[in-house]
């Protein structure tokens, strides 16, 4: 395969990966952040302790995390059809990607929020702050460095998950590597794809680290 032949394939696949990762990152945050907050505040000694709710949420998160992504992708096909209207294609892949990454991100959010000192929360309570104020103005801002670090790890995981999206016609760099690099013995393309993936992950991680470090400086 010549460079001229590879180039459009690579561009298209990179675009598909970017599309899948960006959309699923957005939905992962929208789903995983509240879930992580809920895990912390419903816990014993939390702002809104509820043993039952905490157990249920913990169970949901654990189920979500224990399914291998390739299985999850197939298992949620009915849900994908319901939401996107189709079960194949790049957008269809966003549903399982989100469902796979949100519980993972929720756990990282939980860990980051637990790093916020108990006395910091109690100080806010002593000042008469209500639950929502404490969540919005104490817990989340205080944990922001950890949240960014967690998000970075999640995005990297999403890039890796998205490589499996070829199974449901999602396309992307992983799919390209399998179809051309592996099944058609295009070793050069395989190597180039791997390099592109490494570069993307490297960029994401570096950017995340820089932001997290800047936020942690204070």
């Amino acid at each position: 395969m010549t460079w001229e032949e590879m180039s459009p394939l690579l561009w298209e696949a990179t675009g598909q990966t970017a599309l899948m990762v960006l959309w699923s990152t957005l939905f992962t945050v929208l789903l995983g952040l509240p879930l992580g907050v809920a895990l912390v505040v419903t816990d014993r000694g939390g702002l809104l302790p509820s043993r039952l709710l905490n157990r249920v949420l913990g169970l949901i998160v654990n189920v979500g995390r224990s399914l291998p992504f390739i299985v999850l992708m197939i298992a949620v096909i009915p849900l994908t059809r319901l939401i996107v209207g189709t079960t194949i294609g790049t957008f269809a892949a966003v549903v399982p990607l989100t469902l796979g990454a949100a519980p993972f991100f929720a756990r990282l959010v939980e860990t980051a929020l637990r790093e916020v000192g108990r006395d910091t929360v109690q100080a806010a309570q002593a000042m008469g702050a209500g639950r929502w104020t404490i969540i919005g103005r104490v817990l989340l801002p205080e944990a922001r460095s950890g949240l960014v670090a967690g998000l970075t790890v999640t995005v990297v995981a999403l890039i890796s998950y998205s490589a499996m999206a070829g199974v449901i016609g999602g396309g992307g760099l992983g799919d390209l590597a399998i179809r051309y690099g592996y099944q058609r013995f295009e070793t050069t393309l395989m190597i180039v794809t791997v390099v592109v993936l490494i570069v993307i992950v490297q960029l994401v991680q570096t950017l995340g680290d820089v932001i997290a470090r800047r936020l942690a400086r204070h």
């Binding site: 006395d119 100080a123 008469g128 209500g130 801002p141 922001r144 400086r217």
Partner: protein, 320 residues
Amino acid sequence: MIDVSGLRKVYQDRGRRVEALKGVDLHVREGEIFGVLGQSGAGKSTLLRCVNLLERPTSGTVSVAGQELTALGEAELRRARQRIGMIHQHFALLSSRTVAGNVAFPLEVMGVGRAERSARVAELLELVGLADKAGAYPAQLSGGQKQRVGIARALAGRPSVLLSDEATSALDPGTTQSILALLKSLNRELGLTILLITHEMHVVKGICDSVAVMRDGLIEESGGITELIARPGSRLAAELFPLPAPEAGAVTITFTGRADEPVVSEVVRKFDVDVSILGGALEEVAGVSAGRLRVRITGDERDAALGYLAARDLLVEVAP
């Protein structure tokens, strides 16, 4: 100003039952600095956190500034807390906010508008001597500066009462003194009532008007600090003036505010006794000198000499 009565707090943890407060009464008068002294585990921290209901007492009532907090609903309690300042051992500042942002936080909670907020923040930082640090982050400050931010933050809502949870325990001696001096001046200038808990005698000695000694979930003794020292068998006096265990018949004389009177030479002159000094300690307490002298008195007129001392309004205790 603060009235606590019959306060009990029981923790249930996995079948284990811990009684942290076993029926505590506390009365803090308006404008005074009241210290609760005790070892860790005595229950003083639980007591303090029951005063603004960070901990719900198992039974008993708490009133602050005439308002019974234990009878309030959640929203009312939040409003009442805005009028009770609190400072913490480890400062509990928001690391993601600047000094000014930290002081502004309680004002935001109270719903104070932006313009008024920044004016008040500037005023508060001026008050605690940190006007030049408004834009700094807590991580860039020393411990003493952090506690000053904590104090400014606690005063934001113009509270009538300040609760201090071991506020100087994490500070070095010099910084401790400057923070205590600041608290004392706030007490004097703003008429701020301060309830502080501490395990450090020098905090009590330095700024408290009244003190309660806590042990094992109960208050052992409480009252005005000079009055307490003059009370027979006072634990406060024993801790303040550490003397070795007395030999049989040894006489311990405790005096407050009259350290310069020549009582020993008077006794020797007036009575046929010999006095030998076994030990003694002198402290500046609540602005007056107080001390304790341990002597051995021998001679025929020993009883008359003891009677003379007791009649001089000194606390005279004879070891059995």
